[in-house]
Amino acid sequence: MIKILFFARIREQLGVDCLEWPVDAALSLAQLRQQLVEQRGGNWRAVLMADNILIALNQTVVAGQRLEHTTVNAGDEVAFFPPVTGG
């Protein structure tokens, strides 16, 4: 299992803040996102495929091509969130 977290606008749009998600075989972050979109349906495609979404693996942002090459393993923490607006 992995833990998936959603923050801010994305959490509100999906109506969920945290998921426990089974990971059977080796999976890239891009494949994980695809799996979520397909299995959850509804607005998940529009929300998770948004151009400006940020994806973090174990609290480090992974972007661009690295989403295809970064593998998710059991025990990992993945987070989806919008561009940050602190300060």
Partner: protein
Amino acid sequence: MPATISVSVQHDDFDLGEIVKAMRLQTAQVGAIASFVGCVRDINDQQTVATLELEHYPGMTEQSIRSICEQADERWQLFAATVVHRVGKLAPTEQIVVVTVSSMHRGDAFAACEFIMDYLKTRAPFWKKELTPAGERWVDARCSDQQAAERWSQDS
């Protein structure tokens, strides 16, 4: 010697005077202390803001700010860097964030303070929601903040 780095994400208010005093007393080599304080404005994008609500990603927030401070310490000669960022509900005029750095001379202190703030705004996982008379709205990220942060990589 690496700088003393202190990062806190908290609901409670902070006292800039205490932070500065602690840095003065850390070592008599300190000749310059620079601080930035960000506060809640009552108007943003022509809308009256009654309350600002700040959300963050616990764990990643502290880690990312600490990493930004470490990068500042590599670029400039610092004795200490302290960042306090508040979360939860805040009203106009309240303090949101303070960045304070100490150094031997003002050049390093000013630059490091601005660098930490610019990077914090684009990299630390905080999100602001405004409560206005017209309802709630999430604050959008600004291109100008992105450009301010990118400046530091062009310089070097």
